[in-house]
Symmetry: C2
Subunit: 93 residues, 2 copies
Amino acid sequence: METELIGGLAATLTTASFLPQAARVIRTNDTAAISLWMYLLFTFGVALWGAYGLLIGSRPVVVANAVTLTLALVILVQKIRHVRAARTKSRPR
Amino acid sequence: METELIGGLAATLTTASFLPQAARVIRTNDTAAISLWMYLLFTFGVALWGAYGLLIGSRPVVVANAVTLTLALVILVQKIRHVRAARTKSRPR
C-alpha cells in the first residue's frame, strides 16, 4: 500500500511540476534560459512513456504522461517560436 | 521485449533531457525563465521516484532517477542562488 502511495505522489509531483513552468513561460514570454534540446528530448521521452503505459495497460502512467506531454509541448512551442523569431531578426535584409 | 525497449528509451530520453538544461544554466548563468516552483516540485518528485524504485527493487528506476535528481539539483541550486542574489540587490541599504 505504502509503495503505491509513494509512486502516486511521485507521479503527481513530477507531472504537476511542469504547470508552474508552462504558466511562467506564458506569463513572461521569456524562454531564453530554457534549453530547446531539453524540451525536444523530454517531450519525445514523455510520449514514449505514454506509449509504454498503453502497452502495459496502466491508466495512471498514460494519464500522468498525457498531462506532462501537454504542458511540455506548451513550453516547447513557445521556445521554438522564440528561436525562430531570433533567427529572423538576425538574418541580414 | 518491445515494451521494455520503449520503456528503456523513454527513461533514457527523459533522464538525458536534463543534461542540456543543466549545461545551459551553467554556461549562460541565466535562470530567469526557469520556474523555481517547477524544480522544487520536480526534484522532490524525482527523489520519491528513486525511493519507489528502491521499494520495488528496480535498479533501472533507481539509477535513472538518481541521474535526473543530480541534474535537476544543479538547476535548482543555480535558480535559488539567483533568486537570493536578486533579493539581496533589491533590499534597501
